[in-house]
Amino acid sequence: MSELTTMTAADLSAALRSKDVSATEVTQAHLDRIAEVDGRVHAFLHVAAEEALAAAEQVDSRRAAGAELGPLAGVPVALKDVFTTIDMPTTAGSRILNQWRPPYDATITTRLRRAGAIILGKTNMDEFAMGSSTENSAFGPTRNPWDLSRVPGGSSGGSAASVAAYEAPLAIGTDTGGSIRQPAAVCGITGMKPTYGGNSRYGLIAFASSLDTPGPLARTVLDAALLQEAISGHDPMDATSIDEAAPPVVAAARQADVAGLRIGVVTELSGEGYQPGVLSRFSQAVELLESLGAKVTEVSCPHFRYALPAYYLIAPSECSSNLARFDAMRYGLRVGDDGTRSAEEVMSLTREAGFGAEVKRRIMLGTYALSSGYYEAYYGKAQQVRTLIARDFEAAFGQVDVLVSPTTPTTAFPLGERTDDPMAMYLADLCTIPSNLAGNAAISVPCGLAPEDGLPVGLQVMTPVLADDRAYRVAAAAEAAFTERWGHPLLASAKGLDGASGLDADDTKGAGR
């Protein structure tokens, strides 16, 4: 493995600007790494080697011409295959799109290109971002670089695994119910769900419009902040985009300080159903923050227990409508059009063949929840729960500056364990969903390895709406303290891929202690 692939984005950026390395070298090193390990990880659905090298060459010639490079110029990034790209197929992990070539770039794609970031390719995901394991991809699962027999989380499992496997220093994911934070946690990296409306959804293939939030995944908190700063900000193409200055997240990640900060531990996000090792690492993380000068109290958010059922009404309802357009008429797959069948029959046959089981379940669930006669009892009630959850947050943020919880109730589970048990799968998002319903920012940062399985545990830090910078500040402080305690970043303990060539096995104890 080339040293260039283990460097952080911030270090790569510095090396590129000081001309120690070229964008082409950086890009080639990452393409080589992908060629080396992606057969086992399967983080990517499409690798755009040619396009990436061409973009790198442009950065190099701009640099040669004396241009000042931006912070992400020449830095590779992996893009979840749910964002449209004019020069690469976009599948959303589904057969129904039939390797669709969009005629336009998503705003996030455009902003990455403008920043000079090198898009390496499109990453694997649960079909239409519905899932917590990336096993719902129509193109086969992605594997967790810590243990190839386990899931990388989801739905942004490809993005998380690509970063954890050193195939890319940065990746873009989307988070509807935890789809950035949960895979980041179980892959031992940092993942951020920014405030809803902080990042443009234009060109993001919608799952649940009122919840979907694009955000960064990276190996360090600062790297995540650098990526977020490059993509965030108002977009007139998205009516739900916030027309205000984006929070100063890079400065906050550098500040990395929690002295005097009031931190609330959410009572409802622990206890039964949580893996003991997750709870013990979480407690240690809270103690660590306290030792850094934070004031910790326990805060109750009584309605969080209704977040999961409300989410599994709201998200499927919106998805049943958002996914109606995949009807075989204008693009994508068409099945059964033999000249005699009606449009309605062809639509039904195509959707039957093109969607996977989980997508069908959710479409039908959403159709049910929106049906006349059921709307008030299901969708209507869920919308009221949403109000109550936002009020819980409001009350909590009246007492504390940030809230913390484990990111996930368990560490990465084995492939196949929950694929046909939807309720068990849904529990993976128990802690992450409240922030999607309320729209506030939340980040996941590694806080150690669960003693019982040696797999990563994530600490979730939730902040009020538009206080994204505060999440980075706390996460960076925790990261710095942990790294000092462990003597290395958590990811250095991962041995799923580079077991022999990796670090000394003893090192894993550092993080497990």
């Binding site: 409306g197 027309d243 059922p309 599994y312 039904s348 009892a377 299901y378």
Partner: protein
């Protein structure tokens, strides 16, 4: 039972999913289980609680009435399963709405 097999068949038709018998047998109990679980939202006393449809309280986001260039017709049709006379060719339509 919170949902019957017949209701699942109806939902499949509304959703334009040509589910097979086996798939229906498998899906119906799963949906029943999920619906029972999500019905917990009904436990919440919601007297006087306004529903939230949007996470943030934004209002009045508009664009000005200005033309933006359209896509070229060949680009528009390039991904279409079938094309005729510069239009999307679709199977016969059963009934006018």
């Amino acid at each position: 039972m919170s949902i019957t097999r017949d209701e699942v068949v109806h939902l499949a038709r509304l959703s334009r999913l040509a589910l097979g018998q086996e798939e229906l047998d498998h899906l119906a109990p799963q949906l029943d289980q999920i619906i029972s679980a999500v019905a917990r939202v009904q436990e919440v006393a919601a007297e006087g609680i306004p529903p939230t449809s949007h996470a943030l309280p934004l209002t009045n986001v508009f664009r000005e009435d200005e033309i933006v260039p359209c896509l070229a017709a060949d680009v528009v049709l390039s991904e279409a399963p079938a094309v005729e006379q510069q239009r999307f060719k679709v199977p016969r339509i059963l009934a006018e709405d």
